[in-house]
């Protein structure tokens, strides 16, 4: 029974990863592209260059902070929306559908729309101006980072909402009844009865959402273009630019694997902290 899954895993994950790993130790660029896997062996040179002589570490912090901030902001939004639409009210299906619009829109569409609105003479700048806030530059300079965070939150919060909603559906009706009989008010009921049911789905949503944020290439690419402003040069943008604009395929692969190691550390810590890697049976 494990064989089909194992074969799939080998071809879909193991082979590409090993190939990428091998490319990362080659001097593979436009001059050696035709040789591909026969390109000159570079050893650890690409890794050394990636870590010591490229913006990789800066991009790593930009990506990580942007992803964590986006997730942190999306969680309360998603949970609040799930709670608001849990109980039936007329038009609930319509509201639930509207909530999903940002999530189902392709990233490049989202980015194109927001890029238009964030133009120096766009609706957002004009709107802020009417409120007395004079800032015209949202697609370059330090503000571009917050533009990226804001648009990412806008596009991704429905994912948290979906998983929180799924978690809420799993709360037994009896539990609601029992807490009502005990006279629990809304906050204690939420805090001690409902939230424990959400812990698992929301923790999982946090991991997936954070990885999605880190992986989001289309959003910063379309919002800011290439070369990207320094403040929004995320890992995908840096890797793309190095690989496909500068033709440093080996260095790009080394950057990707360096990123993997850097990201794996906080990921493992988080997965262990929220016990996503431990099934319920093992706890008993």
């Amino acid at each position: 029974m494990m064989i089909p899954g194992g074969v799939l895993m080998i071809f879909v994950i193991v082979v590409p990863v090993l190939l990428g790993l091998y490319m990362s130790v080659l001097s593979l660029d436009q001059y050696t592209l035709r040789q591909w896997l026969s390109a000159p062996f570079a050893g650890p040179a690409n890794y050394i260059e990636a870590v010591t002589d490229s913006p990789l570490l800066k991009s790593f912090w930009i990506s990580l902070s942007f992803a964590v901030l986006s997730t942190a902001a999306a969680v309360p939004l998603g949970i609040a929306a799930a709670l608001a639409t849990q109980n039936y009210f007329p038009g609930r299906a319509v509201v639930r559908s509207i909530f999903l619009i940002p999530y189902v829109m392709p990233s490049f569409v989202v980015a194109t729309v927001w890029r238009t609105m964030f133009q120096p003479d766009g609706v957002i700048v004009n709107g802020l101006h009417s409120l007395g806030i004079t800032s015209t530059l949202w697609l370059n300079g330090p503000n571009s980072y917050w533009t990226l965070v804001f648009v990412e939150i806008w596009a991704s919060w429905p994912f948290i909402y979906l998983l929180a909603l799924a978690g809420l559906q799993s709360v037994d009706h009896d539990v609601h009844e029992a807490s009502a009989l005990d006279g629990a008010s809304w906050w204690p009921k939420l805090r001690y009865v409902v939230f424990p049911y959400l812990k698992g789905p929301v923790a999982l949503a946090c991991v997936i959402a954070t990885l999605n944020h880190i992986n989001n290439f289309a959003l910063p690419f379309v919002l800011f273009g290439i070369p990207a402003p320094d403040d929004v040069q995320t890992l995908p943008i840096l890797t793309y630019s190095t690989t496909f604009e500068s033709f440093r395929f080996g260095l790009g692969a080394a950057m990707a694997f360096s990123s993997l190691i850097l990201l794996a550390i906080p990921l493992i810590i988080y997965v262990r902290a929220v016990k996503l890697d431990v099934d319920e049976g093992a706890d008993k």
Binding site: L33, V222, G225, P229, L235, Y240
Partner: protein, 474 residues
């Protein structure tokens, strides 16, 4: 044991997912970066008619049962006409040789690069690639495209049939070439004749300093002297290159990058100075691309519009200034000078447009060169000019267009006096580094001041990038 296994499985899965997202992220494509050089519509968007089949001078080729694939940029403005042109070319070439021609299009520069890179690695793909002129050095450096022999040139009709200036970026030397000129799209400057006449200016200046002085004179009452798109993803480096070249700095000289040369610093200072010190451009242009700068000029809000693409001309023809604009060559005397320095080159434009390269792996190279001949012959070049507005690279067509379109004189002059960017595999990186200086300066520009120290530090970083890329070149 079960717990450990579960933990291991979960962690492995998590790592695998992370690995996939990290490694796969750069494989995406998106849609905002057009190819380095795109078609340049000028004439009305007529429905193309098939060019008459040129009588082949070489031995007729039998391509019966064979298929040629051509990779070419999708024309966003004239999509329907391009599709029709594809059909016409296929039909005409099939009639001529019996071969089928299939056109594949790409919508963005990143899509083009991905296609070329995968084809080069796989050793299979399109037979013919239409690439931007500034990409030709990179294509050459891959070694994946046919190095043109005298026989190959004869197959496409001989070198003499081309505008000789257009051969300037076909290869590193006159005897080592991969790119066959296909279309041309030189820079030119549009100016508002009414505004200049009111200010008592007879003709645009031929020096950058003179142009800035005229622009100051023309600025006021809601009108700015110049329309510039500082936020454009492709244009800014072209001005920097032109000014540097005019001052005697080729940016790349052999194996030495000269990005941090004082002439380049002066070029950036001049380019940014139009906004920060001369105040001859609209402050909003910090966020403008080329299209927005065009809109400002087309609405009569700017007196000069230095254009890096002739594809803007159809818009001008139907704009509020349709009867009050003319073209002139861009200044050729560098900032701070009154005459061209001894080592300077009077570059009016980079050698802009498209070249054709033929893949080495193609099994139908003779057939491919026959198609290239057809595409670059006078008949098809006429069709391209009339349908898409691209400037001809064929001598005969060029002369005919010059005679019948006197208003386009400056554009054709610019085409003839264009100067090629350095033919180096490091050029793509260098170009990106030059663009990056502008991108990272936008916040300062928006604040109204760009310090020399900031500019110098950005140029130092750009120099490092360019030199590192040059050092890797064989």
């Amino acid at each position: 044991m079960e717990t450990r296994r579960t933990r291991f499985t979960t962690l492995t899965a998590a790592l695998a997912i992370t690995a996939l997202v990290v490694t796969a992220c750069s494989g995406s494509t998106a849609t905002n970066s057009p190819s380095a050089s795109t078609n340049t519509p000028i004439a009305a968007a007529n429905t193309p008619s098939a060019a008459p089949i040129a009588t082949p001078t070489a031995t007729p080729i039998d391509g019966t049962g064979k298929t040629l694939t051509v990779l070419i940029s999708a024309d966003g403005k004239y999509g329907a006409q391009q599709q029709q042109w594809f059909k016409d070319v296929s039909a005409a070439f099939q009639k001529q040789t019996g071969a089928t021609v299939v056109f594949q299009t790409f919508a963005s520069g990143s899509e083009e690069l991905t296609k070329i890179q995968t084809s080069v690695v796989a050793g299979q793909g399109p037979d013919i690639y239409v690439v931007g002129t500034t990409f030709t050095p990179t294509a050459y450096s891959t070694g994946a495209f046919v190095s043109l022999t005298p026989d190959n040139w004869n197959q496409v009709g001989g070198k003499d049939k081309f505008v000789q200036a257009d051969l300037g970026i076909s290869g590193p030397s006159a005897t080592d070439q991969v790119g066959i000129p296909y279309t041309s799209g030189p820079f030119v400057m549009a100016y508002n004749t009414d505004l200049l006449a009111k200010a008592g200016i007879a003709t645009p200046a031929t020096t950058w300093d003179g142009l800035a002085a005229q622009a100051k004179q023309l600025t006021g009452n809601g009108v700015y002297g110049m329309a510039i798109g500082y936020k454009d993803g492709f244009d800014p480096w072209k001005f920097i290159w032109a000014m540097s070249r005019q001052a005697g700095n080729p940016i790349i000289a052999g194996k030495v990058a000269k990005v941090d040369d004082p002439t380049t610093l002066k070029a950036y200072q001049t380019y940014f100075g139009w906004l920060t010190t001369d105040h001859v451009v609209d402050p909003a242009s910090v966020g403008w691309n080329d299209g927005q700068a065009l809109a400002a000029f087309a609405s009569g809000k700017a007196a000069f519009f230095p254009m890096s693409t002739t594809s803007n001309i159809p818009t001008l023809k139907t704009s509020a200034v349709k009867d009050t604009y003319k073209f002139a060559l861009m200044p050729v005397v560098p900032p701070g000078a009154t005459t061209l320095p001894a080592d300077g080159v009077g570059a009016t434009s980079i050698l802009a447009g498209n070249n054709i390269v033929v893949a080495k792996y193609s099994k139908n190279q003779d057939l491919a060169f026959a198609l290239v001949k057809y595409l670059t012959d006078d008949s098809n070049q006429q069709v391209l000019f009339n349908t898409f507005g691209t400037m001809p690279v064929n001598q005969t067509t060029f002369k005919a267009v010059t005679t019948s379109n006197p208003a386009l004189g400056p554009i054709l002059d610019s085409a003839a006096s264009s100067v090629a960017t350095p033919f180096s595999g490091a050029w793509a990186d260098t170009q990106l580094a030059l663009m990056n200086v502008v991108v990272q300066t936008i916040p300062d520009l928006s604040a109204g001041s760009v310090s020399d120290s900031k500019l110098q530090s950005l140029l130092t970083a750009a120099q490092k990038t360019a030199q590192a890329s040059l050092d890797k070149a064989p």
